[in-house]
């Protein structure tokens, strides 16, 4: 009856139909495993990645000289056997497995590693982890020479301590002994890249990290990458340990900020594994169900990351260690964890994740003591908080950080009599303000990159790029330097314990809150090879359906 509307309807139906056809995905295979992440993939260039989900995919697509033991996470043979280390701890000789191949069947040699590491050191690569390569002799000088030469010819790489002795032998010389160097070479920025395939794709104007241009050497190869939708990974037929890869097909999907949608997808069987335990709205309920024994598919545990607050140690009155101690001593972390964070996290008085690093024992840290805090503040010239300037408390306006900051601020106001200015900003702005030191106290947090206390303790080193609190103390720097020169592992770790004790008890540069907890959601009756570990490293290679 309304002819006027028939034409627009036909046009809309045609348009919609064509678009639906263009975008509808393929039906997943029955024997595949679907693994969900809570954030989208940002890049598949291992030398540019820094996000957990990116690093996780890299571990499926590539393999470094070494890898992680599936249970202990100790360095294990990967492309190479465990290296021979010289007596002074400075020279590492890696013997590659014979007949290694790339996913296109071409041979993989020690030269590929050397060339890739050279690219990793080039500032044009924008490698966010470039500082990890500076453990190698001459690497930092090479990087700086590249910065000076700008887009001009690259400086001489032969001065860098990376030698290809023959196609299967790589020798690396370090600046100082680095007991965790084996851990580093298992980390994605140290993976080999097929640079010839990359150059060929780039020259032809193709995106080199997309299939079919991406050539890798790990247990899986990238077959499909549908932006913000899914990645399909198939076993790599040329992988040296192909017989151990039991998963016929891996489908990696993402649910960015969609915890409820992800949980629904898991419960309806669309997703096999959630690589995180939803923590926002339904989280506390899930944890309660798990503790009551009603759910056996939630694997939630303390992980290799800690939540803390950073003091601006250069700004008065927080340049006085007594003030920092007073602010730390009044915090009731148990109450914070139970009433605010509500996910059963472990309250902490230290910043290095405890019980995670073999041989390392954490110091005690500052234990809550309100009268002592009040006495310290009075000794610093602010009895009952009188005359204390308003405390600029900086945090990101997202999720649980807002309520945590408010609870902490209230504890200061109640026990110390100070006034707190709650400075919650959007996350990009938060990072910028914290890096510019525009705060008195700011939210902080850190996930360790390698199995060594220095992954946290270096944060407070003078001149560290991550030292937002501008803490600088010669005694602390000397302790770290002494530990770096110490070659006996037990003595080195004892020195690092003393450094952490000094940093947190005497100097109180940070106010620890808790250890992060996370894990997986999956049904162990259906999926095997997915046991969570403290570093939440997913070894897709061992994943299989029961």
């Amino acid at each position: 009856m309304t002819r006027v509307f028939i034409l627009p309807t036909i046009l809309l139906a045609l348009l919609g139909g064509v678009c639906l056809l263009l975008t509808s995905g393929r039906t997943p295979r029955a024997d595949q495993i679907t693994f969900a992440s809570q954030a989208d993939i940002h890049t598949l260039d291992p030398q540019q990645m820094s996000w957990t989900q990116d690093l996780r995919v890299a571990m499926a697509l590539w393999e470094g000289l070494l890898t992680y033991h599936p249970v202990t996470l100790a360095p294990a043979p990967g492309c190479a056997q465990l290296p021979q280390i010289s007596a002074d701890g400075l020279t590492y000789t890696f013997q590659l497995r014979p007949h290694l191949q790339w996913s296109n069947g071409e041979p993989l040699t020690a030269q590929d590693f050397a060339d890739s590491w050279q690219r990793a050191l080039d500032p044009a690569t924008s490698n966010k982890y470039v500082a990890l390569f500076f453990k190698i002799a001459g690497a930092q000088a090479y990087n700086q020479a590249c910065v000076r030469s700008g887009t001009g010819p690259r400086p001489d790489f032969s001065a860098v301590g990376i030698r290809v002795l023959d196609p299967v032998t790589l020798q690396v010389t370090l600046v100082d002994p680095c007991p965790y160097f084996c851990d580093l070479v298992a980390f994605p920025p140290f993976y080999p890249l097929h640079l010839r395939a990359r150059q060929k794709a780039v020259a032809a104007g193709h995106p080199w990290t997309h299939p079919p241009y991406l050539v890798t050497n790990g247990p899986f190869v990238l077959k499909e990458w549908d932006f913000k939708n899914y990645l399909r990974l198939d076993p790599n037929p040329y992988y040296h340990d192909r017989a151990q890869v039991h998963c016929a097909q891996l489908r990696l999907v993402t649910y960015p900020d969609q915890e409820n949608a992800a949980l629904l997808a898991y419960q309806s069987g669309v997703v096999d594994i959630l690589s995180w335990v939803p923590q926002q709205y339904i989280g506390p309920e899930l944890i309660a169900q798990q503790r009551a024994g009603q759910r056996h598919d939630i694997f939630f545990q303390p992980v290799f990351g800690t939540y803390f607050y950073v003091f601006n140690c250069r700004q008065a009155p927080f340049n006085d260690a007594r003030v920092r101690q007073a602010f730390t001593l009044v915090i009731d972390k148990r109450q914070l964890v139970e009433d605010v964070l509500r996910m059963g996290q472990r309250p902490l008085n230290v910043i290095v994740a405890p019980d995670a690093i073999p041989g390392y024992s954490s110091p005690r840290g500052l234990v809550r003591d309100v009268p002592r805090a009040q006495a310290l503040l009075a000794a610093a010239g602010f009895p009952e908080g009188r005359g204390f300037p308003a405390v600029d408390l900086l945090y990101a306006n997202e999720g649980i950080h807002v309520t945590a900051a408010q609870a902490i601020g209230q504890m200061w106001e109640r026990h110390l009599g100070v006034r707190v200015v709650y400075h919650g900003v959007e996350s990009k702005q938060f990072n910028r303000e914290r890096q510019a030191h525009h705060f008195a106290v700011a939210r902080g947090g850190w996930y360790g990159d390698y199995l060594d206390p220095t992954t946290w303790l270096d944060l407070a080193q003078t001149g560290s790029g991550q030292n937002d609190g501008q803490f600088s103390d010669p005694h602390y720097d000397a302790l770290l330097a002494k530990a770096q020169r110490q070659t006996v592992p037990a003595q080195r770790l004892a020195l690092l314990t003393e450094a952490e004790r000094y940093l947190l008890e005497d100097q109180c540069a940070f106010m620890p809150v808790c250890q992060y907890s996370d894990g997986y959601v999956y049904d162990p009756a259906r999926i095997a090879g997915c046991a969570p570990n403290v570093r939440l490293i997913t070894q897709f290679k061992y994943l299989r359906r029961r």
């Binding site: 009856m1 309304t2 002819r3 006027v4 509307f5 627009p8 309807t9 809309l12 139906a13 348009l15 919609g16 139909g17 678009c19 639906l20 263009l22 975008t23 509808s24 995905g25 993939i41 940002h42 890049t43 598949l44 260039d45 820094s50 500032p123 044009a124 690569t125 924008s126 490698n127 966010k128 470039v130 500082a131 990087n143 910065v147 995106p207 990290t209 997309h210 549908d226 932006f227 913000k228 939708n229 649910y255 900020d257 969609q258 949608a261 992800a262 629904l264 997808a265 309806s268 669309v270 959007e426 990009k428 702005q429 990072n431 910028r432 890096q435 947090g445 790029g465 991550q466 937002d468």
Partner: protein
């Protein structure tokens, strides 16, 4: 006609240029660094990233980017998703939003016109009042409430539709309905008022006096004219519906263009924001042009000169 088309084309270019300029400089002036993450980047790395995206020389980038888009249709590479060009991202996200929006609009158009006409013909009766109240609800209730309610009712309590995702018609029904409800309410109100206006017109009385059946009077004479405001509204409504709704896409886990509107801004992903804004502007411009053409076709009093 040709003059009209050429004039509109030039106008559209000016609109696009203005929108581009405003967006570009607003983005640069907004706080936050696109590369700022939890970890501070080494200065050399930050410098190389800024150089890669032209943030080291914003004025030069302002012109080179515009030239790149105009000459090659190249909208650059996303900052947050550096392996993807903005063109590819939009090419994958836009069809999803278009398919969803098209279904929602079809639902909204027919349901809205039917409800509006029905209400107008029963003006003042209880059924009309009930419909008026219902449409008021439809206009006022935010999408996130409707979406969540539908999801709860038809995916959880009575699971006849999937909870989310994309690829099948069944997965489209709930999100399209959510998106459509606002338009249904709005179109029905427009139609009701418009039909009431037209019912009193002389030519309608004449048509009735001629003894034409009621059905023909309403269908041909009343709705033919009452359709004009609805058609006008269809232009901006289509531009809005087809480019994706952030809320609907978020609730139903759909990877359309809507999510990029908000996420790209939060990430300060300058190339992606520019690409999305320019795409949206282009769609609005094209649809308002189509509406003008449709006007001329429907109403003989309007001529395109």
């Amino acid at each position: 006609m040709v003059r009209f088309v050429v004039a509109r084309f030039l106008q559209s270019l000016a609109v696009l240029w203005l929108v581009y300029t405003g967006t570009y400089w607003l983005l640069l002036a907004s706080p936050g660094n696109p590369f700022a993450g939890d970890r501070n980047l080494p200065p050399a790395v930050l410098a190389s990233l800024e150089a890669r995206y032209g943030l080291d020389n914003p004025l030069k980038t302002y012109f080179t980017y515009a030239g790149q888009v105009l000459l090659h249709g190249d909208m650059g590479t996303s900052i947050s998703y550096q392996d993807w060009s903005v063109g590819e991202i939009i090419a994958r996200a836009l069809p999803v939003s278009v398919a969803l929006g098209a279904l929602a609009l079809i639902m909204a158009l027919w349901a809205g016109v039917a409800i509006g006409t029905w209400g107008a013909l029963r003006q003042g009766r209880p059924s009309d009042m009930v419909l008026t109240v219902l449409t008021l609800f439809g206009v006022s209730l935010p999408t996130f409430v409707i979406g969540t309610l539908l999801l709860l009712l038809f995916a959880v309590v009575w699971p006849i539709f999937p909870a989310g995702g994309w690829g099948t018609i069944r997965q489209m029904i709930l999100p399209a309905l959510t998106l459509a409800l606002f338009f249904v309410a709005y179109i029905s109100r427009l139609t009701r008022v418009s039909v009431l206006d037209t019912l009193g017109a002389d030519y309608v009385r004449t048509a009735r006096a001629k003894g034409l059946p009621r059905r023909t009077v309403i269908g041909r004479h009343v709705l033919g004219n009452a359709a004009l405001p609805v058609l006008t509204y269809l232009g901006p409504a289509a531009a809005y519906a087809l480019t994706g709704s952030f809320v609907v896409e978020k609730i139903f886990a759909i990877r359309g263009l809507g999510t990029h509107f908000v996420n790209a801004c939060l990430n300060k992903d300058i190339p992606l924001v520019l690409g999305v804004v320019l795409t949206y502007t282009a769609v609005v411009v094209v649809f308002s042009f189509l509406v003008d053409l449709a006007y001329a076709a429907v109403d003989p009093r309007i001529s395109l000169t």
